[in-house]
Symmetry: C2
Subunit: 440 residues, 2 copies
């Protein structure tokens, strides 16, 4: 008896995705809307290699990423390398390498593929794509104005309704002065308290208080201040003793400029916004989905004052944000923002009924392609019913039939699968009909 052959599995590596044509069309559509939006603000696309030296992440990424999430290994030449878990270290390296030659402000974007070893779950995979938008060389709050304008324009260009998202903004200067001055915490305690504030919304009030109390010297008084802090708004935050006034003024200027551009209702000052990354030094913001079933951070970013300090003595202040495709896809689907015609064909199919006229089929296809109309031709004769079935399965609306008699009359039969109509049209009419129907 023959041994049964063991087949290789067809599933992709755990926590990753295959992009079959339908998913790929979605991805291309989503990225093209993002790309057009940021390009309309004069941002230029860049990219770097997906492998970088391990030391780049050791120096720039958070401990959790390096210790537990990095895909790092030693190459055949004994170099310790890693697959990029985020784009910012590559960006910093590239900007630093050309910082003297680049005209400021530097406006750059990229849509890299990023990898982290995580336990896969809803909205969390081991790889995702992330739009990165960064602006370097502007020290004033005007940089924040522009970056939040872009963050908002992306959502508007996806036709997201006003109430579907909320942009929450804060400033590390406000948080730091609250921790260091208002609460008078020592640095290591301040850091631990900020981590707890960051996860407060994900745990119960009891758990929060239980975890925070050991960090406080005067828990009763300090907890009251913490709740008061979290309850402030842009009008009242300045009244809290010890809060850095220049950071408050910065945020007020930012909100005022954005309000004059109509960005008001979707904007909210929220002093609990922390952002995990340690390199933020100024304004920070996060965009939240308001859908109760997906109430999570969609994307966010902030200002980092000296991103290139590891590479150079030059000073360069930057601000940017990153937007991941997995959570954003959930947002678009949750709010019904995916166009229905994403999968409709902009091409036609020519069945092959008579093998002899195959070269004529290819000539017709060439003619149409030169006019910008995509054409798929069947390459082997088959029964009409089977070829129509193939066309339907592939999602074609138009079929073009070409036979000896059509050839002699310089005509074709055009069949519209949706309406079921079939008509005899001249080859010149064919082009204008298809251009109008398919290319709009």
């Amino acid at each position: 008896m023959e041994k049964q052959k063991a087949f290789l599995p067809t599933a992709p590596y755990k926590g990753t995705r295959d992009f079959y044509p339908d998913e790929m069309r979605f991805r291309n559509w989503m990225f093209s809307v993002m790309r057009k939006t940021v390009q309309s603000f004069g941002y230029e696309e860049y990219d770097g290699p997906i492998l970088e030296s391990f030391e780049l992440y050791l120096a720039k990424s958070g401990e959790e990423i390096v210790q537990r999430q990095l895909y790092d290994f030693t190459d055949k030449g004994d170099r310790h390398v890693a697959i990029r878990p985020e784009m910012t270290p590559t960006l910093a390296r590239m900007v630093a390498g050309e910082v003297r030659n680049l005209a400021k402000p530097i406006r750059w974007f990229s849509i890299p593929n990023l990898w982290r070893y995580e336990q896969p779950g809803k909205g969390r995979l081991r790889e995702h794509w992330q739009l990165n938008v960064d602006l370097f060389g502007v020290n004033s709050y005007r940089a924040e104005v522009e970056i939040i304008l872009i963050a908002n324009a992306i959502l508007e260009n996806f036709k997201a309704p006003k109430g579907s998202y909320q942009i929450k903004v804060s400033h590390r200067g406000i948080l730091d002065s609250f921790l260091n001055q208002t609460l008078a915490l020592a640095p290591e305690k301040a850091h631990a308290v900020s981590k707890l504030l960051d996860k407060k919304s994900k745990i119960s009030k009891e758990a929060f208080e239980e975890e925070i109390k050991p960090l406080l010297s005067n828990p009763e008084k300090q907890l009251t201040l913490i709740y008061k802090y979290l309850d402030t708004n842009l009008q009242t935050i300045g009244d809290l003793e010890g809060i850095d006034p220049s950071s408050v003024e910065f945020i007020r200027n930012l909100f005022s400029d954005l309000a004059s551009l109509g960005i008001k209702d979707q904007l909210e000052f929220d002093p609990s916004i922390i952002r995990g990354f340690d390199y933020y030094t100024g304004c920070i913001f996060e965009v939240f989905d308001t859908n109760p079933e997906n109430r999570r951070s969609l994307y966010g970013g902030g200002r980092y004052d000296n991103l290139i300090g590891l590479f150079s003595n030059e000073q360069l202040s930057g601000i940017g944000f990153g937007l991941g495709d997995v959570t954003f896809k959930n947002f678009l689907e949750g709010h019904g923002l995916v166009p229905k015609d994403l999968n409709s064909k902009t091409a036609v199919l020519i069945p092959l009924m008579d093998d002899k006229i195959f070269p004529e089929v290819l000539k017709l296809a060439e003619e149409l392609r030169k006019e910008g109309i995509g054409v798929e031709t069947m390459l082997e004769p088959a029964k009409l019913g089977k070829q129509i079935q193939t066309a339907e399965k592939k999602g074609y609306r138009f079929l073009i039939f070409l036979g000896e008699s059509e050839l002699s009359e310089n005509k074709v039969q055009l069949k519209d699968i949706v309406s079921g109509e079939q008509s005899s049209v001249s080859r010149s009419d064919l082009i204008s009909i298809l251009r109008k129907s398919l290319l709009g």
Copy 2:
């Protein structure tokens, strides 16, 4: 004395490239021409993860790749994984996973990033991007007709002159019958001889003969046959004793169909074409640059009769080719085919002269963006000369000046850096002037 700070290097990992905005524009332009060409033939884009299981390559890739060129490692969950060195194994896995649901013929393409640990040199890096075009489910030579049409259309769409490239075609059935029948070699010797034929053009005649003689039982007679074989053309190949007549007929049909479509001079039967990959089973072809300074294979492909056999009992014949960006860029540059206006801006810059009118600058920018015109705005006031310098360095042609007096008249000053002209125009005229000048 303070210790000197050690900076991290700004160079990318050895054998890889940073895509600064200029390089990225080139890459996007090159890929968009390729994408439009293959889409005009009804091909659909797909993608898969850049990490795959090691066993996929162990089973499907050549020994040299797996042993010496693979970026493979063990992940934190003890899975042996590898960064993809080629796309075909991923393609085979994906097609096999959905083979029963996909309408045939399957026409797919992808432009993946691929990695091989190689000694970097001219035209050879450790990573490149590669257009992969594949057609499954057509057994006749018509599949070859279409694939070579596409390979040729790509070059035509890059406006490559007729004489700048040559498409060489052969068939494994012709080679195999020559080795097994005409030369009557045993299988392992046949394999070694085919490897030598593949590298013949890169070594001297003496070295070739020295290496091949130990493989031959009757060197004098067999060498004569080998030279005769290499000297045949499509008319004479059938006269050589032992050559498989069905393979010859296949190639003759292919050439006849392509000739009727005007693809004749750039096409050549060349029985020395081998292609390195072991999975080709039928027609094979390679496109060569005819530039004497870059006379090398640009891209190539062929037919593989059962690509999905490792995953499934289903039978599916396929044909495809891969085109790498590094060698293709050399081709485009070598023949002067890169458009001169690739880096010209489709956006304008608005300097900021007066801080008070910043919100008005942003409103004007919004207006223009809604009309499809990209706008970069300066965010901090600076001297006029410095802002014009920035605009020139960034490659802008048009500057728009907005001040109190222009605002009160609903006008702007439009400056054309190329002509040096500056004129006062109304805001509605501005839009039509810019649309015409920038968006054509």
